[in-house]
Each structure stands twice: as structure tokens, then as C-alpha cells.
């Protein structure tokens, strides 16, 4: 296909391990979307792919192309930085809209607004 076969074994092994780990973690995160049963639980699952998954796959890519082209390849770092900077925005928007809806409907034992008391943590079993 291309020159990926030029990758020496000492580099191919860590790259494979990193890629596999990253993909497995992302896969487990996606499975979490099905297995966890509440919306708030599901908020946590994709962060697996957004943190560890992205970092491991990007590091694998960095090693591969650094070895193949014999120079430092750093622009994957930008991918990691931008994903870490932007995921909170999406998750906060989703979380806040869910919170807003649940408060109006009085569902899911959502702690009320403006009260600082320890919220009820029983009943949140998924």
C-alpha cells in the first residue's frame, strides 16, 4: 500500500500497543453510551475517547511519522490541545440543558437551583 512496512520493529511494537490501547479505550467509551442508563451517566462515557483515546492515538501517530520521516512531528499535539479545550464546552451545554429540563419536570432527583446543601445521592442508581 505505502511505506508503512518500512517502520522498524522497535517502533512498530510501541505504535501498535498505543493504537490498540487508544482504540479499545474509545470503544469502551462508546459502549458506555449504551450500557449506562441515565443521561448524566452517559455524559461521562465519551470523555474516555476525548482524553485517553485521543492522546494515545495521537502519540502513536507522532511516533510513526517521526520514525518514517526522521524528524520531529509535533502537530498532533495541537489536536490533543484543541480537543481538551473544546470538549468542556459541548459537555457543559449538554449537561446544563439536561439539568434545566429535569428541574422543570422535577425528574431524576436533580438538586435544585441556588441551594448549597448536599444533594440527594440515593435514588440515582442506573
Amino acid at each position: 500500500m505505502n511505506h508503512l512496512t518500512d517502520l522498524p520493529a522497535w517502533a512498530a511494537i510501541p505504535v501498535c500497543i498505543l493504537l490498540l490501547l487508544g482504540s479499545v479505550i474509545t470503544l469502551v467509551g462508546s459502549m458506555g453510551l449504551i450500557r449506562l442508563k441515565t443521561f448524566y451517566g452517559r455524559l461521562h462515557a465519551p470523555t474516555l475517547g476525548a482524553s485517553a483515546g485521543t492522546i494515545l492515538i495521537c502519540v502513536a501517530s507522532m511516533i510513526t511519522f517521526a520514525v518514517l520521516q526522521n524528524r520531529w512531528i509535533l502537530h498532533e499535539i495541537l489536536i490533543i490541545v484543541f480537543i481538551i479545550l473544546t470538549t468542556p464546552v459541548t459537555l457543559m451545554l449538554l449537561g446544563q440543558s439536561a439539568l434545566y429540563r429535569d428541574r422543570i419536570e422535577g425528574k431524576n432527583d436533580v438538586p435544585g437551583k441556588t441551594t448549597g446543601e448536599q444533594p440527594d445521592t440515593s435514588g440515582m442508581d442506573i
Binding site: R35, Y40, L48, P88, G95, T121
Partner: protein
Amino acid sequence: MRYWFPYPLLSLALLMLWLLINQSFSPGQIVLGSVLGIAFAWAMVNLQPDKTRLKNFGVLAVLAGHVAIDVVRSNIAVMAVILRAGKRPVNSGFVAIDISLRDENALALLACILTATPGTAWLEFDRQTGVLLIHVLDLENGAAWSDLIKRRYETPLKEIFE
């Protein structure tokens, strides 16, 4: 100087970004990157962001180390929760934390940290009461979580930003 270069660090960071994306250190790219960096710094003036000064770089390094460890640990923990979700009910819940941080940039960094570590999701921060509401996937003790976040993240962030 301040008039022409309102955010020197931001301009420098944008220049680095430009060079990284283009994978080249040729003079042409450096000039183009500098022009863009300075132009975007001017655009930033109109957004009027909060001015903050980083004070304690030692604490920042320690905090970065803690976050790296926590990301690894919480990834493993959340994977375990998901894989066992069929057999064992997941005990998740809300935790409200009184936070005395007010600096916007520090709060933004805290949001990034809490989101990057799976298992905690930032839901809402009330600026009036200073109550931060997070959702924790594997909750054993709400008070312990509140203590952990205050001690591990809030205290160093206060030292760095305020």
C-alpha cells in the same frame, strides 16, 4: 509597545501554532505567522478578556503532574465501571461544591481538568453563590469528592491565579 502588541504572549503562541501547522520555519512563514498573531491579538482586545497573571509556575507544574496521574487513573476507573455496568448497579450522583475561585481563566482551567478526567462532569457553576455542581459517575461519598477537588485542584489554582 502595549498599544501595538496588546497580548504579546498570545501573539507568540499563535505564531508557534502557525509554524506547527505548517511544519516549517522558513522566513516567509515566520513573517506571515507574526502578522496573523498580531492581528488576532488586536481582535482579542475587542473581546475584553479578563487579565490574569500567572504567579506560581512551580505549583503549575505540580498541578499538571497531578492532572496527568488523575487522567490515567480515572480513565481506568471509568472503563471498569462501564464494563461492570451489566452486573453491578452504577452508583452515580451529584456533588455540590462551594468554590471560592472567581477568576474566569482559573474556572475555565478547572472545567478543562474536570472534563478531561472521565468520571466527573461539570454541570453548572453559580457565580452568585459560588456553588459548583458536578456529576460523579462512581460516587461513594459526596463529601470526600468535594474535599478532593477542593484540595487537589482549587487550592493550587488559587495559588497560581489569585
